[in-house]
Symmetry: C2
Subunit: 416 residues, 2 copies
């Protein structure tokens, strides 16, 4: 039997415990939704003040040079790169994940169109359970290109291998599934894709800052990801994109805006792409939201993804063990793999009354979220989640379930 005392002991030994002080967290809240919106770094308030008062307010237009605004997407990309196994000059922080996915998928199809067997390669393989926007963006691109591209939606990770073949142009996957927390073996899937002549586009929305990622070692082709979840960049902060160095020279994408031009300020009427990852850029970026991404990245610079992963697995193992210890008599189904190699940094649990139970949890200060159908998601963010938080969260969940303390008719929020 695990006791709260045991959890406090784990916190006392936790090498990452001090990093919690880098965040402003509200009192009375156990925040298990950092997989959806990361908590606010303390440094963000002062950085925003500096940006608004000095850079925007006082220096005004001069800040494009003086404060390096124009170079921010590249500079932040370099800072993010080590977290995903990328090198300098390979990552750019810009636009939304959806928009970046469109660029990367288009670039992958463009590259494949140069193959001699390209007419037979018209399939984009992904999962039906992928985050919907990824599927929607692929649908949009395929429909508009109107060259016979079609999606193949795989129903389970086990069916992926067989779904990739000589007709596959691109395998587009989210590394860690947003709903189940299942993690793909990036290296194995990429190798299998390459063996079949396909390219890979990886969505790292639930991976960057959550699990160790090594894009170069996996020989991945393209990747996108999110900065406002585990990277704590702020609500809706710009996303990132990565292109393997071997693909950069012939990288082309349709959103050819001026920030991707080789000489944007010479104002020429012909598009000429910049070198390297710079050409993945499109239009002017939201500087305030972009600049605060740095505050989250700076915290990661104080640790390493191996330490983060070790604690992440300890937290999710603990949560699963406590669920079994305290809630085994309730109709809870674990949706997240027990196998460490297949698990992201969240634990998802299905319950027939998942929505109202989650509402009851939130009302009592345990903030997770809900995803259709039936799934209660609990994200474990090693930078600011304590082992005792896990104990307290399960304690409250057990109380809610044991006492039926939730409202089956709870009204749905617009955003769930």
């Amino acid at each position: 039997m695990i006791s709260r005392q045991d959890c406090l002991a784990l916190d006392a030994q936790d090498g990452l415990a001090a990093l919690r002080e880098r965040f402003d967290l509200p009192d009375g809240v156990i925040y298990l939704d950092g997989n959806s919106l990361g908590a606010r770094p303390r440094a963000a308030l002062a950085r925003a003040q500096q940006l608004l008062a000095q850079e925007w307010g006082t220096d005004l237009i001069r800040s494009w040079n003086k404060a390096g605004w124009f170079e921010l997407p590249l500079r932040l990309g370099d800072k993010l790169a080590p977290l995903i196994g990328a090198g300098a000059g390979e990552v750019v922080v810009t636009d939304s994940t959806s928009v970046n996915l469109f660029k990367m998928l288009a670039a992958a199809l463009h590259r494949q169109a140069m193959r001699s067997d390209s007419t037979a390669r018209r399939t984009i393989v992904t999962e039906r359970a992928n985050f919907p926007t990824d599927i929607y963006m692929a649908q949009g691109l395929a429909e508009w290109l109107d060259r016979g591209y079609r999606l193949r939606l795989v129903d389970a990770p086990e069916e992926l291998e067989a779904a990739i073949g000589a007709d596959t142009a691109v395998v587009m996957l989210t590394h860690v599934n947003y709903r189940s927390g299942h993690m793909h073996d990036m290296k194995a899937v990429t190798a299998h894709a390459h063996a079949n002549g396909a390219l890979t586009v990886w969505d790292l929305a639930h991976s960057a800052g959550a699990v160790p990622v090594d894009l170069r070692a996996a020989e991945a082709d393209y990747a996108v990801g999110c900065t406002y979840k585990y990277l704590n960049g702020g609500p809706g902060a710009p996303a990132f994109a990565w292109v393997a160095p071997r693909h950069q020279a012939d990288f082309r994408q349709p959103l050819s805006g001026w920030w991707g031009h080789a000489e944007p300020f010479t104002m020429q009427p012909e598009f000429r792409p910049a070198d390297g990852i710079r050409r993945a850029q499109c239009g002017t970026q939201p500087i305030l939201s972009l600049a605060l991404v740095e505050c989250g990245l700076d915290i990661f610079a104080e640790t390493d993804m191996q330490s983060v992963r070790r604690k992440s697995l300890a937290l999710t193992d603990l949560f699963i063990a406590l669920l079994e210890q305290r809630c085994a008599h309730h109709p809870l189904t674990l949706a997240t793999p027990r196998e460490h190699a297949r698990r992201g940094s969240q634990v998802s649990v299905a319950h027939p009354d998942g929505y109202p139970v989650m509402q009851a949890l939130i009302a009592r200060g345990v903030i997770g979220d809900y995803r259709e159908p039936q799934i209660m998601r609990f994200g474990f963010t090693p930078l600011y989640t304590r082992f005792a938080d896990v104990w307290d969260a399960v304690d409250i969940l057990a109380d809610i379930l044991d006492g039926g303390k939730y409202d089956r008719g709870a009204q749905r929020d617009a955003v769930t």
Copy 2:
């Protein structure tokens, strides 16, 4: 002869003078670059603090509902709509101008593809002097669609009429030119386009908040624009998009992300577009940058575009008159039309040493900017520019030119 005293008298009578207090402007600076980056509304600091401390920091994920984050693009769109002659539910604030232009241009081509003469309509008419990103985005879209679309770049506004014909799918124009400050007659050009079976996509980057725009009265088809120039939304703040109500039902665009889905939180694997302008959205938006757009829009709610325009013309007339009075002996060429109906809210002046002269002006606190080739741009933002500022700016310019007080070998900044 106009004296500084005359200018002070104009300020004393100025009905908009009090609005300057809504902005934090640095001491010792005459800011004539609001056409590039608008000054910071005073309210922005407190709003950012609220957003960071309460909404992100304390309420965290709950702010998507509680603070209405998800509805911000539509709510801000409704607030912006009156400034451009649009109705409620017609405007969305989202993504960058470049990305929105891609969506609108694609939507226009999609609509045209349904015509019986569509195969003969493959030309996108625009100006060679259009802001480059508009041209680049059109090039990117045309190239990727690979259906014979081509751009026709018109060399002067007078050639526009003849360039629009039976082969024209879309006329894509920036209403007020970024470099010259020339303004098109939106209603006349739109009528001419329609008479020739073409649709219009208007870029209002230098119009929204600068000149009265009436998209509905002009019977325009699609529009995009910028919030960080005359609307004072903050550096790189999200752009906006407008679709004429008559085109909304069959509006389709390729960047079909989850924010444009009819039911984004049901997580279905098929894209089904939302009703109305909502379907022009794509991915998750940068909330901090987005929210501050409201501070700029709120200032416009204290006045109307007719008052703004009256003062804008008075300011630009004064600037031109003072240039003639003080600098007529220098090789300055007015690039902005004298005719009110053709003038935006800026005055551009070519000078062989435009770049170093502008650098000298900036060093002495008169902040305009430079655009290749030779153009010194001066933006006049009626909400915070005083008539005496105009006098002082020309006074300093005259001193620089008369004394040759600039460095011909001035090093170029990366961002000009």
